[in-house]
Symmetry: C2
Subunit: 418 residues, 2 copies
């Protein structure tokens, strides 16, 4: 290594140390359990374990379930747990607490909001989405149109062509605010306004937004939203998802998945379905208390957190990572927008050997992930990442590339889950 480069590297680390010292969020890091020897840049795929969650879950299991047994539904407040969790999430996504509910997977919730949207505009038949949307959104939309037949169809555009694709046939536009591969971000407010101008409904997937930066669903005029509990919200693998319905639609939507928990009086056990008032009608089956409890506990890590500071630090971490990687690894091509407003809380690079590089990087203590066909993806989670982690991660990435540590057969063998 040249002396000039060595000096530059030293400067970069010194700058990161200074940023950590001044970091207004640094006191939140102990709210999370971080394994030794790992720099975790994959909180956008699975959030880390919040500190104390395991003990609190033991209490849920041993005391609430084990001792109270079926009485837990009343005693331990299980029946109100979906509302309790919803309230915490609502605060993070700029929604009235009465507009959010929690339960089921993101995919199921996509189905719920799409079918609810269709029930509001029976005269239109096209669901519009982004070709680069996360596949499950497209698959679920496609499945719904196939189920309905009668001219319903899913049409796809790209970010560039989206605005003009919203025509008078479109009932709802289903967009993920932040692209899961590139990190590119839609302007939710402007796009919602445009969609409304064409007489359609705006459905926002917040999987890569909720907990990552401030979201303002009510203010943006969104009609529906869904999002994931296990990424930036740290609810644990496969945590329950959430769903938002704008207040103006609450009592007009007809739930297609009409289960007993969405009934106006579930314990009357009547034969006829009568939807609950408001957001309650979007609930379906018995709430999954163990996983909901974990999400409920995890969300306490956001207590007192100023999401504007999270956004500020996220952008600094992204900028720093881009600068570090471009300086050290010019063979990686940045695919995330450089302009702060145009991206979420991740940085992605492209490389033809992306899969093997990511496996080698993980083996060397930096966990990001790979998205087909060639994307190395790094998520920034300001509550538990330090500026110095970013520099250290870039150093290791540089070493993986310089020393060709990725060039091994074992790193080319695709795992079941990538």
């Amino acid at each position: 290594m040249s002396i000039a480069k060595q000096n530059q590297d030293t400067d970069m680390m010194a700058s990161a140390q200074e940023s950590d010292r001044l970091d207004p969020l640094k006191d939140y890091r102990p709210r999370f359990t971080l394994p030794e020897g790992v720099i975790y840049l994959d909180g956008n795929s699975l959030g880390v374990l919040p500190a104390g969650l395991s003990d609190r879950m033991s209490d849920v299991i041993e005391r609430q379930w084990g001792e109270r047994l079926v009485r837990g539904w009343n005693d331990a407040g299980w029946i109100d747990l979906p509302s309790q969790v919803a309230g915490k999430i609502a605060a993070l996504v700029g929604a009235g607490a009465n507009c959010v509910t929690v339960g089921d997977s993101t995919s199921i919730n996509v189905f719920k909001v799409l079918s609810a949207a269709l029930s509001l505009r029976p005269d239109r038949r096209v669901i519009l989405s982004d070709r680069n949307n996360f596949p499950t959104d497209l698959y679920v939309a496609d499945g719904l149109t196939r189920l309905l037949g009668q001219g319903y169809e899913l049409k796809l555009a790209t970010a560039d062509t989206m605005e003009e694709a919203v025509d008078e046939t479109v009932v709802a536009v289903l967009l993920t605010e932040v692209d899961y591969r590139t990190g590119e971000r839609y302007d939710m407010e402007a796009m919602t306004r445009h969609i409304h101008g064409r007489g359609a409904l705006a459905i926002w997937d917040l999987c890569h937004s909720a907990g990552a930066f401030p979201v303002h669903l009510d203010a943006a005029g969104a009609d529906f939203a869904i999002g994931c509990g296990y990424k930036y919200l740290n609810g644990g693998p496969g945590a329950p998802a959430f769903l938002y319905v704008a207040e103006r639609h609450l009592n007009d939507v007809a739930p297609a998945l009409s289960g007993w928990m969405g009934h106006d009086a579930p314990f009357a056990f009547t034969t006829d379905y009568r939807p609950a008032d408001g957001i309650g009608r979007m609930k379906v089956g018995t709430p999954p208390i163990l996983s909901l409890s974990a999400l409920n506990i995890a969300l306490d890590a956001f207590e007192g957190v100023d999401m504007a500071l999270v956004r500020q630090k996220s952008q600094e971490l992204c900028d720093r990572f881009i600068a570090e990687v471009e300086h050290r690894c010019p063979e990686l091509e940045l695919v995330t927008p450089r302009v702060r407003e145009q991206r979420g809380s991740q940085v992605s690079f492209r490389h033809p050997e992306g899969y093997a590089i990511m496996q080698a990087l993980i083996a060397n203590g930096v966990i990001g992930d790979f998205r087909a066909p060639d994307i190395l993806r790094f998520g920034m989670t300001p509550l538990y990442l330090r500026h110095t982690d970013i520099v250290a991660a870039a150093e290791i990435l540089e070493r993986v590339l310089r020393q060709k540590l990725w060039d091994r057969e074992e790193y080319r063998t695709r795992a079941k889950v990538t």
Copy 2:
């Protein structure tokens, strides 16, 4: 108390003690955690906590999630957890392991199998069910028909009129094998044969069957089934549900809820949906690892258990409870069939003050539950209940009635969950 009655009571307890001594299932009781001072006759609503589950869940949370983080999907086998759990349940319900999958709530699974059934018989439009079926089955079926329109409808019959109601318009008959209120049981094999004879499909809800007695889905020729993880399977409050598709239909059904986990290659992230081969296509979203892990651990309590012995003891417990209660509490009206083959694993009585009586009973250490309008329900779970528990429970019920312990305002106030 008369000396004659006292002697009779002593005899009944002595007989129960002798049955416990000879009980071939007595060694399974330590597989469960039972709170002190409680006789739990509500395992048909929420199963008890299996011993060791809490520690094993701590390992899932701390080691699999906390330390392995996103690597747990491969390392800890999370991605295969639905299949693993499905294999254990398949063995309990007489199904090929490749015909069962696990995930989502029972209500969501009702929607999945109903829509799958409709996809097999596009020429018929009527879903038939039992007016006394558990309401969520009816609500979900109704919601699906409203979503589809085009003449689809839900028709209801009763056990008495069910056979003749299966006419040439019926695409699928959705029945819960055991009535949640009365405990009355359909003859699955005979009814399935009859349904097939009329060209319709048979969907069985096993919420009150799986884990309660031997079920033979394949042998009975069932087309589809669903069931609950949190009752007799002891998977914890709101545990994931399961779903069965007969092998002959596996590759013909079109999933209406077509999420990424049901895709043939979920990690190829392609735009187009292509259903997985076989039962995999019935999966939808990201599997709920924490609650699936709890269910997985809970199912180990069935390892080595002979379900025929479970059925035998269940019937003995039911008979004993009926005899005890009828002897002690003649004002309670039995609503469960006396004939063993015609009932599941519960005993229900009717009383106009049923709600208050059940609250008083619970306050006195016997947990059963109440079902509107007037049913006192008692579930029999042979792996952890003793014959002497049944006698003791009946004694306490007698005391509640004789001393009118139920006649208090607090016991009449309905809780949110009954």
